[in-house]
Amino acid sequence: MVSVAFINPLSDEGEIIVRELGDFGRVLSDNDDLMQIVTGSRSQEISDDSFIPRNYIDLAIKRIEWFVKKKNDRNFDNNQYEFLFNTEILKFDVIAFYLLCQAVGVKYGPNSRESRVMVESQGKLIEYRLEKLPKNIREELVTNILNSLISSTHIKWTFFEDLISTKKLKLQDLILDQGEIILDKDDFLERFSHKIHGRKPGKMYEALIGDRIKELVMIKMVMQNTENYILKVGEKSDREIEPNPILLELADKISDVLATSVRSYGIGGSYSGSVKASALNPKAFPPCVKKVMEGMKSGGRNDAIIMFLTPFISYARLYPSVFSENITKQISDIDPSLLIVQNEVLPLIFGAAERCTPPLFEDQPQDKVNLNAKLGFGMHQNPDLKNEGETIWYTPMSCEKVKIHLPSLCKPDENCKKIGNPLSYYNMMIWKVKKEAKTESATDNTE
């Protein structure tokens, strides 16, 4: 039987394994047992020493590397990481998991890119581990883990508040009735059989809920618990003295893996890593921005210009890679004399405001102050360096927020499917334009 800790390292079994580790210093020492399991794993590629983790820290890094490369590297070879799916690696894997969480927790905290990657990698690892198990073992394992995570047979949807809040689960994914989530087959049949006509209720259960939703819920719960554990570690380390240097070193290595991935593939398939600040190209604007640029009618006019367009235009022009770099900047860090703001950013925004019906600033001149505030220059009429920092330079709204605040703006085109923020759309289009230009010039040269 496969141990539940192989899927959920935060289980009681997982905790026992951690307690049995003993001396923490061992995590850096070469471990023959680990290397033997790795090299003995079926289909494992062993042609290069670098494929084989020698100790717990190496294994921890391999876990992250697997996730990042699998996601981004077209030449990814799963055979280099087969050991991650060998159940014999259990004890080493659980320790590596805890090491990763603690390293990320003490150095970066829960709201970091490193934390997000750690949590996502755990989710993906579970998915692939389950896929490799025989159906009956997989079902039993999922049921056991779910039973340990959910004590009641009647689960209110609010039990998954954290998962819903962090968008790991969507309410629409779940079958809800009278406030409860329906996972159990008999419960489903009792509640809905009489309503279903012309279809087999049992088959409908298997399709709509069955193992698919149970696995989804279980995986997302483990991911959420991983995130909560990183948060707990972070809070604890804030109160305590010097964190263990081994953890800090591991944290740096994790960061290196991610940095290498950004350099090689761009973050998560996004295009923002490679886009540098340059003159705006309105043809690359997403449909929602183009719509606001044409001018809005009275409803939603203020939000569209102030909350939506101002951050978009300013970031697209000055700091298009804000989401990949994840470093907070002020406008003057990029445009020290504010000349670009005055000559390129504001004219575009004022132009869109002018095209509104009625023109925004004629109608509500006080909104110039709000616009200025969104650029980080406080509640004043004009941008002035002496006021910078009084307010925050607002980052562009995500597509999700646009749908909530300005639903009439969201008219997605084909390219919108791949992005979650209008700024990413812009970066992607700029990247495509550049790529096409390069291809054209190469073709020209050959003719």
Binding site: T158, I164, S165, L174, E206, L208, G210, I404, K411
Partner: protein, 326 residues
């Protein structure tokens, strides 16, 4: 019958008469009166928006005195509860609110400029659908409906949801309005099974079916749906009687599966405007105080005891309006 379009803004004299002669503190619903100390109040004295905020009343009597003396253009109270409401400090919880404004409904069968009896009734239909889903799917029952003067507020006070954050609230809105087309293909033991939303009589697919049905039955030849051209709209209108009898399969066949997909995609994207989602996700919003006067249209913001039978033109028109007509 008093038509809302005939209702002009209330004069300062009429406001005075309303608060001093007709309004009674007992008309403030218990769900607000009992928590008055924990809420922030806001007022608009001149008709330019609620700029007199951060007001606190320790007892209903103090609120009564304020309203009778100041007779404001509009009165508001927070959906949020605070330990220190005067500074909006120490937020403890907030009602979950859905605001359906008749003026902003994306599909209206009337062609009025502002609001009228027809679109107010349509707002009521939408609110009824939302309440059904809140109860049947989300299991929420402590729901208060308020006629706001131009639409309806559904205010939920169940302990299960008053502490939830904006992200969860935004997901609830999407679920209630049917903002996403449900999946229609499911994997089952290495094969694909197809279930359109209308064959699933429970859960989100059923909510979506109800919302699509409402929208299709309220479309007219001037309606605008993303990716739906005039010809397709005409075909939808021609065949929508099939949906009235829940003959969805026939309707889909008549329209054609690909064109049907376009119609439901268009409706899903429009559904997000059925409610003002900004209100639902705002944890510190102030909403018009039930029992107060909506001076712009001279109607009373009124708690609705029975939404099925409620008629704003009978129950929310202040006396001075009738006297004005005479």
């Amino acid at each position: 019958m008093v038509k809302i379009e005939y209702l002009t803004p209330a004069s300062p004299e009429e406001r005075k008469r309303y608060y001093r002669e007709e309004w009674d503190i007992k008309q403030v619903p218990d769900f607000i009166a009992h928590s008055i100390q924990e809420r922030e109040f806001g007022f608009d004295h001149v008709g330019r928006g609620p700029n007199d905020r951060y007001k606190v009343f320790r007892t209903p009597d103090l609120l009564k005195r304020f309203l009778k003396v100041r007779t404001p253009f509009a009165a508001y109270c927070s959906v949020a509860f605070y330990d220190k409401p005067r500074r909006r400090d120490k937020w403890t919880k907030a009602e979950l609110v859905f605001d359906v404004d008749a003026k902003d409904i994306p599909i209206r069968t009337c062609e009025c400029e502002s609001v009228c009896e027809i679109c107010l009734n349509e707002a009521k239909e939408i609110v009824c659908g939302i309440i059904d889903t809140l109860k049947e799917d989300l299991g929420l029952n402590n729901i208060h409906i308020v006629y706001s003067g131009r639409g309806y507020h559904a205010r939920v006070l169940d302990d299960d949801v008053t502490h939830i954050n904006s992200d969860v609230r935004s997901q609830i809105v999407k679920y209630l309005v049917g903002a996403e087309v449900p999946e229609n293909e499911y994997s089952l033991n290495y094969e694909k099974v197809s279930y359109e939303h209308f064959v699933i009589p429970f859960g989100y697919p059923n909510v979506f079916t109800e919302r699509v049905k409402y929208s299709i039955l309220h479309l007219n030849e001037h309606s605008n749906l993303d990716e739906v051209n005039k010809k397709l709209l005409k075909d939808v209108l021609k065949n929508r009687h099939l949906i009235e009898d829940n003959n969805w399969g026939l309707f889909k066949n008549k329209i054609g599966p690909l064109r049907y997909k376009k119609v439901v995609n268009g409706i899903a994207s429009m559904n997000m405007s059925l409610v003002d989602a900004k209100v639902s996700i705002d944890l510190k919003r102030i909403l018009r105080l039930p029992s107060s006067l909506h001076s712009m249209v001279s109607m009373k913001c009124t708690e609705v005891k029975n939404i099925e039978t409620f008629d704003p033109f009978k129950e929310a028109v202040p006396k001075f309006v009738y006297e004005r007509k005479e």
